[in-house]
Amino acid sequence: MEHIKTLNTKRLQSTVKDGGCGECQTSCQSACKTSCTVGNQTCENNK
């Protein structure tokens, strides 16, 4: 495309079917302890 570059190919819709296994980290376990930061976490199935 000339005017638009899309940064990512993954779509949230596609995770509806196969998501929800729950193997991922809980967010406060990483560093935060005072906020809630979920978007930066990695799906265990994509590691």
């Binding site: 638009i4 570059k5 949230l12 998501g19 406060c28 935060c32 005072t34 976490q41 799906c43």
Partner: protein
């Protein structure tokens, strides 16, 4: 729903419900905003006549732009609508009902291994380890073992279990930490589980033995340091008032190096006293740390060091400044990770995780030295939130259900917020502490979160441009 913003000279369009992120030129940026204002693709459909309407509106709004450019940009916009990557509708709300019925599984514990501390940090939400007047106390091995047994028993088919050694200062009870880890390794063999341990420490008691143990056993270590010496020492003194910065900095540098600059964070807190916190982040980066997390203090507004609403413009500026500096460092030796700007656009969490948030009170629980269970470390000591104990399990099921129902659709302020699938509704403890309700939101926290997401996405765009 979309969100458009400009940061560091980059035009960005976020499609909230698909998670698609688009970097666009000025023409497309204006046209997409026209679509939003005029509700051209409001229903997520690219029906006949809509592109023509967009072109017409675009020509009116941008008279100096050649018609063929507007037509091409409109064509690209419509292609993205058709591909469900722009103006995508929200199709997840109904999933929340199913999700709230999911089985009760615990996969992570925050072990309050020591309700005692050897520093007297002024902003400590744990009140120097005493947590709302709880007695100074160390966790016994018996409680620690019972906690791991409780976790294994309640973890269902989940294999990866997380245990965080927290306090107070965990190294005041290092002997028990070692024994709990050894017990966990035995359980792994007999129950086909994998424990991922994290140690949080202020560094005062960090020595060669702790370092060797941490590097062998800890998946992650969180090292508490606020940044510049004067900033750190003002808020993190010893009980005598003596400074702690110079004692811990060399030890943290050594530990970070010994871990290959991986699987750790130096973790600081900024307050009203250092609104120029980007200087603290850069100070830590220039000391050689590669994994950095510096986060806003959460404190009642009666405290002099609390972040105030009027501080927000300055803090936004600081986040922008930090992000711009990090963009300059992409691909260079002095680059570093900033925890709150990390975002995983390709391998990030599934929509279920994004809807349900941090898991406090359900998948994640805190354990006191006595073995009591609370929804998370921030609720410890508040009797209203006592859930049970590690010996007899979760007894307060009504409370667990309240946390289970906590999701982005249950929070009024999240419904129209572009950040809802990144912060997942924010921190329940902050919501409760500021508004008395876990289903409310903490306004200052939300505003800062939104700014951080914009910066994080700008950095992804800058990285993509650098590698293109």
């Amino acid at each position: 729903m979309i969100h458009t913003f400009k940061n560091n000279g980059i035009n960005i369009v976020m499609d909230i419900n698909s998670g698609a992120i688009h970097v666009v030129d000025d023409i497309a940026y204006d046209l997409i905003n026209i679509c939003d204002e005029k509700k051209i693709y409001e229903d997520g459909k690219a029906e006949t006549g809509r592109k023509e309407r967009l072109i017409e509106e675009g020509k009116k709004a941008c008279p100096g732009v050649p018609a063929e450019k507007i037509e091409q940009a409109a064509k690209e916009i419509e292609e993205l609508v058709e591909a469900e990557a722009l103006f995508t509708l929200d199709a997840y709300e109904e999933r929340v009902i199913d999700f709230s019925k999911r089985p009760n599984v615990v996969k992570a514990l925050c072990l309050h291994i020591a309700h005692d501390c050897n520093l007297a940090c002024k902003y400590c939400f744990a009140e120097e380890g005493k947590y709302h007047g709880q007695a100074t106390e160390l966790m016994s091995l018996e409680v620690g073992k019972a906690a791991l047994d409780f976790l294994v028993k309640n973890s269902g088919v989940r294999r990866n279990l997380e245990v965080d050694f927290f306090g107070g200062e965990p190294l005041l009870n290092f002997g028990v930490v070692k024994e709990i880890v050894a017990y966990g390794r035995e359980l792994e063999k007999t129950h086909n589980k994998k424990f991922r341990f994290t140690l949080t420490t202020n560094g005062v008691l960090l020595n060669e033995e702790v370092k060797e143990f941490a590097n062998r056993e800890m998946d992650n270590v969180v090292l508490s340091i606020d940044g510049r010496k004067e900033v750190h020492d003002k808020m993190r003194p010893f009980p005598s008032g003596a400074p702690s910065h110079d004692l811990i900095l060399p030890k943290f540098k050594d530990l970070a190096e010994s871990r290959g600059q991986q699987r750790y964070y130096v973790r600081g807190t900024f307050t009203h006293n250092n609104l120029d916190f980007s200087e603290d982040v850069l100070h830590l980066a220039d000391e050689g740390f590669k994994q950095i997390s510096v986060e806003p203090v959460v404190a009642k507004d009666t405290e002099s060091y609390a972040i105030k609403k009027e501080d927000l413009p300055k803090l936004f500026e600081e986040y922008d400044k930090l992000a711009a500096e990090m963009a300059k460092r992409i691909g260079k030796e002095n680059n570093f990770n900033f925890f709150h700007f990390m975002i995983d656009l390709e391998g990030g969490p599934c929509v279920y995780k994004r809807l349900s948030g941090c898991g406090s009170g359900t998948e994640y629980l805190a354990v006191t030295p006595k073995g009591e269970l609370y929804p998370c470390h921030q609720f410890v000591g508040n009797e209203e939130f006592l859930m049970g104990d590690v010996f007899t399990g979760v007894k307060n099921e009504a409370l667990r259900d309240r946390f289970k129902r906590c999701n982005v659709y249950a929070k009024e302020t999240c419904k129209d917020c572009f950040a809802r699938f990144y912060c997942s509704g924010g921190c329940s403890a902050n919501s409760y502490n500021f508004n008395g309700d876990i289903l409310s939101s903490y306004e200052i926290g939300c505003e800062l979160q939104k700014k951080r997401i914009e910066c994080a996405i700008m950095l992804k765009a800058a990285e993509a441009a650098a590698t293109a």
